[in-house]
């Protein structure tokens, strides 16, 4: 169905819902590359005004990717909770934006609403919001998950310790882990991107992590970010798998390019649950996403990259994950060109995921061919801290020597905890205090060469 809006004598017509959404999206290079952006500033605002007047019910009747050929669309429609949606079913997209910002929308009401919202509704309202709106609403959401500790409580900020090494050298990885732990990092997960996906190599890393966590009695969980098929094979061989990782996208075809489907994810999820390795909870999936993956896989169906990204969250929430994060600036400047676009996209991703009920973190990052630097990352880090982001990455000196990009350092997390008075996960904080690594105010204590974590070497 076409949508339109007239400004003075210029009548703008948008052929269908996906076109309206795309044209209403704040500018980014990936949508331009896909040929989906508004052709003028005026057309973009015309699309936003038309979108503001669109009844939310429209999203239940008009899909952006065909129902018949896309299992994510079917998932979104079939899992939609009409009861949760009922209180806002009379809203337009614009009215939803105003309501979200009102005091009537609080932590409880937003939690109850989550299953009544579809990714496209959330993507749509996001396009009408300024950065401060995205921050304010996200901050109201609280999404708490548990495995061996508790992540996402208001007032907490956690980190994934990311100790990558270009050749998966066990000692090299352990050196980065110890460095991170001694800087208070690693409560969300200790997660390695393996340089090779071979099952034997991944099993070695899993055993090494399991050994470290047991030996030092660390209240955290491990993950080796291999493909789910590799992890599934290792679960069946009784390898010590805590969290199951997978990259996911927002269309069936994108996921096919990642070598996955919902049925495969179902299978690995059930297999991992059967291991019963969590102590305080059983959230155990870990998903990474990022705007641009559908375009990169030639699988976007004419849908803008931010909407495709939000659709990936429908996949994620099917599995009550422990952690989800967008790898926002990793994909490169042809999708998000500069610091401004990366910052906007990260705030969008965090907002959309939180509103849909996901434990969202962000890999605050950039590559060397993007127009961005540490100052941009500092801005984004601070904004996401204010927005209540569940976790960020902890990479030694912000420099990932395996993946060749820049993320956030152990020090960055301490900065954010300090300026915003945030704490690590409570179980992990108790461990840091006990090991005399941090004090109760979040200050690093002096660490002597005899500290027992250093005995590992």
């Amino acid at each position: 169905m076409p949508y339109h809006f007239t400004i003075k004598s210029q009548r703008y017509v948008f052929d269908d819902l996906k076109t309206l959404l795309a044209k209403a999206t704040p500018f980014r290079s990936g949508d331009a590359l896909a040929g989906l952006t508004a052709s003028s500033y005026e057309e973009r605002v015309a699309a936003q005004i038309a979108l503001a007047d669109l009844p939310l019910k429209t999203f239940l009747n008009e899909v952006v990717v065909p129902y018949e050929t896309d299992e994510i669309t079917r998932l979104i429609i079939e899992e939609h909770d009409a009861g949760a949606f009922a209180p806002i079913s009379h809203f337009t997209v614009g009215e939803l934006r105003d309501w979200l910002l009102s005091d009537a929308a609080n932590t409880n009401t937003l939690e109850e609403l989550a299953d009544g919202l579809t990714p496209e509704m959330v993507a749509a309202v996001c396009k009408l919001m300024r950065n401060q709106d995205l921050i304010l609403v996200a901050q109201k959401c609280e999404v708490v998950t548990q495995f061996r500790n508790t992540i996402g409580l208001h007032g907490n900020l956690s980190t994934r310790l990311q100790p990558n090494h270009p050749t998966d050298d066990a000692k090299g990885i352990a050196a980065s882990i110890v460095d991170g732990l001694l800087y208070g990092s690693g409560d969300a997960v200790i997660g390695i991107n393996p340089a090779t996906d071979s099952p034997a190599a991944v099993a070695n890393l899993l055993n090494m992590l399991d050994g470290l966590i047991s030996k030092f009695n660390i209240p955290t969980q491990s993950c080796v970010l291999a493909h789910v098929t590799t992890t599934l094979q290792l679960i069946n061989q009784n390898a010590p798998v805590d969290l199951v990782f997978q990259s996911i996208g927002g269309t069936e075809q994108t996921n096919r390019s990642f070598g996955i489907s919902l049925s495969l994810l179902d299978e690995v999820y059930e297999a991992a649950l059967s291991l019963e390795r969590g102590t305080v909870g059983d959230n155990l999936m870990y998903f990474e996403t990022g705007q641009g993956s559908s375009l990169s896989a030639n699988a976007h169906h004419g849908v803008d990259q931010q909407t495709c990204e939000a659709r990936a969250y429908a996949v994620a929430r099917r599995y009550s994950p422990m952690l989800v994060n967008s790898v926002v600036g990793f994909i490169g400047p042809e999708y998000l060109y500069d610091g401004k676009q990366i910052i906007r996209a990260a705030l969008e991703d965090h907002f959309c995921a939180k509103l849909l009920g996901l434990p969202m973190g962000v890999d605050i990052c950039y590559t060397n061919h993007a127009e961005a630097d540490q100052d941009d990352m500092d801005s984004l880090l601070t904004l996401l801290g204010v927005a209540g982001c569940n976790f960020i990455m902890g990479v030694p000196g912000a420099d990932d020597i395996m993946l060749n990009y820049q993320s956030t350092s152990f020090h960055d997390a301490l900065y954010l905890r300090k300026v915003l008075d945030k704490k690590p996960s409570p179980e992990f904080e108790a461990w840091l205090l006990k090991q005399q690594i941090m004090d109760g105010d979040g200050n690093r204590l002096p660490i002597h060469a005899e500290h027992f974590l250093l005995n590992e070497f």
């Binding site: 042809e334 060109y337 020597i401 690093r444």
Partner: protein, 254 residues
């Protein structure tokens, strides 16, 4: 009221410097408050500056063309459809296509060669400026001794890997070998990649190629890289494939 200002540094060193022996990661950086000490922060900035300069570096075309004379092969100077670096970075599709004048240069030539040698700036012209010639000095004699015929050498500005498909196809080569600057990392601003594509044709994607990455003295050195490329070219011509189905079994031979 008195203000305490220490006479010496406020930087606290980490006691685990010895762990640096196990990894090139930036560990044991120390701290002042919760911040990274300035010395380390400036080292990081310098590494980023090198990477940024590499992204915006230009091919030293004149010097390259002069130096490449020693191979006695014709040389084409080509460019893609991307106008300048900003467009190149945002439009990878344009970096994969030859400009009209470049197509004209190659059309109607009567090449007879097995292997099209292509040098493209990619994301680090510095990599090509530093390493292409020295790699070719080892590789070209190997190819000539094996009686392979080489087409003219193409030097491409604002090029992506897939531009080799169009060049190789216009030159009717059996194999396109693209040497290209890789995305710079903080510790590797001049890493060069080599891509081998059998029967280059417009429209091929990455699974049709074999890639040899991280060519630079601190990574895969010139000799090892030349041997590896030579191996892949031999195997590719023999089996008439390239890409995911052409496995690297070189180590099994030695």
């Amino acid at each position: 009221m008195s203000l305490y200002i220490p006479k010496h540094t406020t930087v606290e060193q980490d006691e685990w410097q010895s762990l640096k022996a196990f990894t090139a990661a930036r560990i044991a950086l120390g701290r002042t408050g919760v911040a990274i000490p300035l010395k380390e922060a400036l080292q990081f900035k310098l590494a980023h500056a090198h990477a940024r300069d590499a992204v915006y570096a230009a091919l030293q075309e004149k010097e390259l063309m002069q130096a490449l004379q020693l191979f006695h092969l014709p040389i084409f100077s080509l460019c893609s459809k991307a106008n300048g670096r900003h467009e190149y970075l945002q439009r990878p599709d344009l970096g994969r296509q030859l400009s009209e004048p470049s197509i004209k240069q190659l059309t109607g030539k009567k090449p007879n060669g097995d292997i099209a040698l292509i040098l493209a700036d990619g994301l680090s012209a510095t990599a090509i400026n530093n390493h292409a010639l020295r790699l070719l000095q080892l590789l070209i004699p190997l190819l000539q001794q094996a009686n392979f015929l080489l087409t003219p050498i193409s030097i491409v500005q604002q090029g992506r890997v897939a531009i080799g498909d169009e060049i190789g196809s216009l030159l009717q080569a059996k194999i396109a070998l693209v040497l290209i600057g890789e995305r710079p990392g903080l510790s590797s601003p001049d890493s060069m990649g080599a891509y081998i594509t059998f029967q280059p044709t417009v429209g091929l994607t990455d699974e049709s190629r074999n890639c040899i990455s991280n060519i630079r003295p601190e990574g895969l050195n010139y000799h090892a890289a030349a041997m590896k490329i030579f191996y892949f070219i031999n195997q590719s011509l023999r089996l008439k494939i390239s890409g995911v189905n052409l496995k690297d079994e070189m180590d099994l031979l030695t």
